[in-house]
């Protein structure tokens, strides 16, 4: 069966599809506004007419390429190419500003590869055991998990806690627009039917990152003389030494485990996994004050975690037939159409296909590494394109992404609205990142809270140990992070006074 799977992937045509998928995925991932999910959605119908192993291999390649490509624009433009690379901006862009764009890219690429490998390894070895664990997560557990992840906001915000919380709550508020979870009653739509779908994460991201980047450049038009920031970016190997690589291994392993863990739990996704692993890495580091100033650790944490999430998300998809996010939901569709029903019998009925998936993921990861390392010198040359030409094109691409997300021109209006909101928030020194967490987790929290209220009559909360532990952990995280934040604030105050 393993051999059969390998043979299916070793066909020249299949290898070609994988290479093509990775390349297209990287492009979709790298262009702000176009995401990995969108790449899969657009190419899924193309695979209907392919053989099962070819089609699925191409979808896997698109997925891996798409999640990995996001780091390019995050580092070079400070605009995350996909939701999964939001946290890559935090340290990636400062590194690029210091003239270490090549080093940041190299770090991102190598650790994306490593993260993917760890994810695949766990997928291959531990899938059944982890599925049993994932099944324990039901309404109670998700409700607590959403709260726990939201409590990370307190840790993410830094010294100005109320503003960080405002950002998160505002994100959760925005996410209530549209049909309510569970009962599908329209909320805050003002009778506009396009609002029924709510706002898409990618549209919010464009507003928060891409438009605000254009505007901050617009502010500096009369102040700056030089347009090309970096004329000669040095590129040697992956941009960092072997010793540096070894020093990052523990960080990478922790981040990969967080990534896989979040991937296994359906419904959370790469956008949250990169932020949580960044926060964890920062708060457990001995030099937490350096995070955000452009150090490798931040890029490593974010990029390892988001790629490890791929392997994690494949676990419930293959062994239970449960998709964890929009991208894996598309993959599920792709499998079903090729008459491969993910579930408990997948190894017995379609073992060859499962191994073909594993091998295609592996091959896609290798292609991703090769393409990205080879392409780095070209990516870096993006920095040489005058920004006054580059950014308008990026805006148009973002507009296309907003339209393409649900084939609605209406979404571009929301995009501009979010852009204005983000600009004003930055002016008011309200951080924009917690908003993403609030936006993603708010609906998860609400939906599961309401399910809990349905359950409580026949299934009280003390039957759910994981729920109780998570609630306790949430309280502890809030208390300790709040104390750390107060200490930081006091230190800043003292610095100011001196």
């Amino acid at each position: 069966m393993i051999f059969e799977g390998l043979m299916a992937i070793c066909q020249p045509l299949t290898v070609l599809w994988i290479a093509l998928g990775v390349a297209v995925g990287i492009i979709f991932g790298a262009i702000p506004g176009l995401t990995a999910t969108m790449a899969i959605v657009m190419f899924l119908p193309v695979t209907y007419s392919m053989a099962a192993s070819e089609g699925i291999a191409m979808l896997m390649a698109l997925y891996i390429g798409g999640i990995s490509g996001g780091l390019i624009s995050a580092i070079l433009l400070n605009i995350p190419g996909t939701p999964s690379s939001v946290a890559t901006c935090f340290d990636g862009k400062p590194m690029a500003n210091k003239g270490q764009a090549g080093r940041a890219l190299g770090t991102g690429v190598v650790f994306s590869f490593l993260g993917t490998l760890i994810g695949i390894a766990i997928l291959v070895v531990l899938a059944p055991a982890l599925c049993a664990f994932a099944l324990k997560f039901q309404a109670y557990e998700y409700c607590a998990l959403a709260l726990f992840s939201l409590s990370m906001v307190v840790a993410l915000t830094g010294s100005d806690m109320p503003k960080g919380l405002i950002s998160a709550v505002l994100g959760a508020l925005l996410a209530t627009v549209g049909l309510a979870p569970i009962d599908s009653r329209a909320r805050f739509t003002f009778g506009i039917f396009q609002l029924n779908n709510g706002f898409a994460l990618v549209v919010l991201l464009i507003g928060l990152f891409a438009i605000s980047e254009v505007m901050s450049f617009a502010e500096s038009v009369r102040k700056k003389q030089e347009y090309t920031v970096e004329q000669n970016v040095k590129m040697k190997g992956a941009g960092f030494s072997f010793v540096e690589f070894l020093a990052q291994i523990p960080n990478a392993i922790v981040s990969a485990l967080i990534g896989v863990g979040i991937g296994i739990l359906p419904g959370i996704g790469g956008g949250v996994s990169c932020m949580i692993s960044y926060t964890v890495s920062k708060n457990t580091s001995r030099h937490r004050e350096l995070y955000g100033t452009g150090i490798m650790d931040g890029v490593v944490a974010s990029e390892t975690a988001n790629n490890a999430t791929i392997g994690g998300a494949m676990i419930p998809l293959l062994s239970l037939g449960i998709p964890g996010d929009a991208a894996t939901a598309m993959l599920l569709g792709g499998l079903m159409i090729h008459n491969v029903a993910p579930g408990p019998l997948i190894y017995e009925k379609n073992g060859a296909v499962v191994y073909a998936i594993f091998f295609s993921m592996l091959l896609a990861a290798v292609f991703m590494l090769l393409f990205m390392l080879w392409g780095m010198r070209f990516f870096v040359s993006v920095l040489k394109v005058p920004k006054n030409y580059l950014l308008p094109i990026v805006m148009v691409l973002c507009g296309i992404g907003a339209i393409g997300n649900a084939n609605q021109v209406f979404d571009t209006y929301a995009m501009v609205g979010f852009g204005l909101m983000a600009y004003l928030m930055i002016k008011a020194r309200i951080p924009t990142v917690p908003m993403i967490l609030g936006f993603i987790l708010g609906p998860t929290f609400e939906e599961n809270l309401r399910r809990v209220s349905q359950l409580s009559s026949s299934d009280p909360f003390w039957n759910h140990p994981i729920f109780c532990v998570l609630i306790l952990a949430t309280v502890l995280v809030v208390i300790f992070s709040a104390r750390a934040n107060l200490r930081d604030a006091k230190r800043e105050e003292e610095l100011k006074n001196n």
Binding site: V41, L44, P45, Y48, A134, L135, K136, F137, Q138, A139, L179, I182, D183, S184, F193, Q194, N196, N197, P266, P316, L320, G321, I322, P323, A329, M330, L331, L332, G333, G334, M336, I337, N339, A341, G343, P344, L345, I346, K349, A406, N407, Q408, E447, R450, R451, Q454, L455, S457, S458, D459
Partner: protein
């Protein structure tokens, strides 16, 4: 007057010649559900067949959201030139109207054809559970009111099913929302609920492996390739949930064009490749109607769904 008449004549001539020439450019089909789902797959199979029959390209585009209501709202008054169609399923079309999500039904369109039927949903319980059939499950819920947890997805066909069970079957479940089929499956496997309804294709492997047990199908008649299943309608006669795939045209599309499209659809559905495809994909035989048959079929299902309205 003469001028007017000749102008009228000219218009009629032009119009008929336009019909005669149909189709001469790309036909757009807007699919109400996302890529990867059964509605999308069937629509794309139909489009591929139509391309061969009609000789022009037929492009499917997904405009998704709100169980298809977004797309249907947007295109119900779309271009009436015979190049715009909407592919959806009847549970969304009639269900969204019955549950009050939208205020229009199939009569806001010119239905072209019903061109397929789903493998249907089955009411399933874990294999270890004591209930062997639907009657036992309902009786157990009456014996222990509010203690047996039935997982549903509020607003969809599964919700209508739960309403029928409760209001006509007099069952007393603790109704829990679990979202889509994949999530209901997770909840059932994880022991968070005691029973739910799952599409046959989702549940099949678990039934075969002995982890789940199917109590009955909620189709009015079991699929042709899996015939030996009890029907829910044997216990509650009103419990009939047939999800069919339908092709609609925007309101006001000329009847000749609707008829011409229907002819093409019937040609596609009559082909042996189509039979092979639906046998494999939904365990059903080809299932299709001409325009009148489609209208009659939609009307019947709408009346059934509307009769549940007081409970929804």
């Amino acid at each position: 007057m003469k001028k007017l008449l000749s102008a009228l004549f000219l218009v009629v001539l032009l119009a008929t010649s336009a019909f005669a020439a149909w189709p001469e450019k790309t036909i757009n089909i807007y699919v109400t559900h996302s890529a990867g789902g059964d509605t999308d797959y069937m629509a794309r199979q139909l489009a591929a067949g139509l391309e061969k029959v009609l000789g022009v390209s037929v492009v499917c585009t997904n405009v998704t959201g709100a169980n298809g209501a977004t797309c249907m709202t947007q295109y119900k008054d779309g271009d009436k030139d015979g190049y715009t169609f909407i592919a959806t399923n009847t549970a969304a079309l009639n269900g969204n109207e019955a549950t009050g999500m939208v205020d229009f039904g199939y009569s806001a369109f010119e239905p072209v054809s019903v061109y397929g039927i789903q493998s249907g949903e089955n009411i399933v319980v874990p294999a270890a559970s004591p209930y062997k059939n639907l009657k036992e499950l309902i009786d157990a819920s009456i014996a222990k009111p509010g203690q047996i947890k039935l997982g549903i997805s509020t607003g969809g066909g599964v919700y209508i099913m739960a309403c029928v069970l409760t209001n006509i079957g007099k069952a007393q479940f603790n109704i829990i929302d679990n979202g889509d089929a994949a999530n209901r499956l997770t909840a059932l496997l994880g022991g968070a609920i005691d029973a739910t309804s799952l599409p046959y294709s989702t549940a099949a492997d678990y039934i075969e492996k002995g982890q789940l047990r199917s109590l009955c199908t909620v189709l009015s008649k079991a699929p042709t390739l899996i015939p030996n299943q009890p029907s829910a309608s044997a216990v509650i006669p009103e419990l009939k949930m047939d999800t069919e795939y339908a092709l609609l045209a925007p309101k006001g599309t000329p009847a000749e064009l609707v008829k011409a499209m229907n002819d093409a659809v019937l040609k596609v559905c009559g082909a042996p490749e189509w039979k092979e495809m639906v046998n494999k994909f939904s365990f059903q035989d080809p299932f299709y109607f001409d325009v009148e048959g489609t209208l009659k079929n939609l009307k019947e299902q709408r009346e059934l769904f509307q009769s549940f309205e007081p409970f929804l």
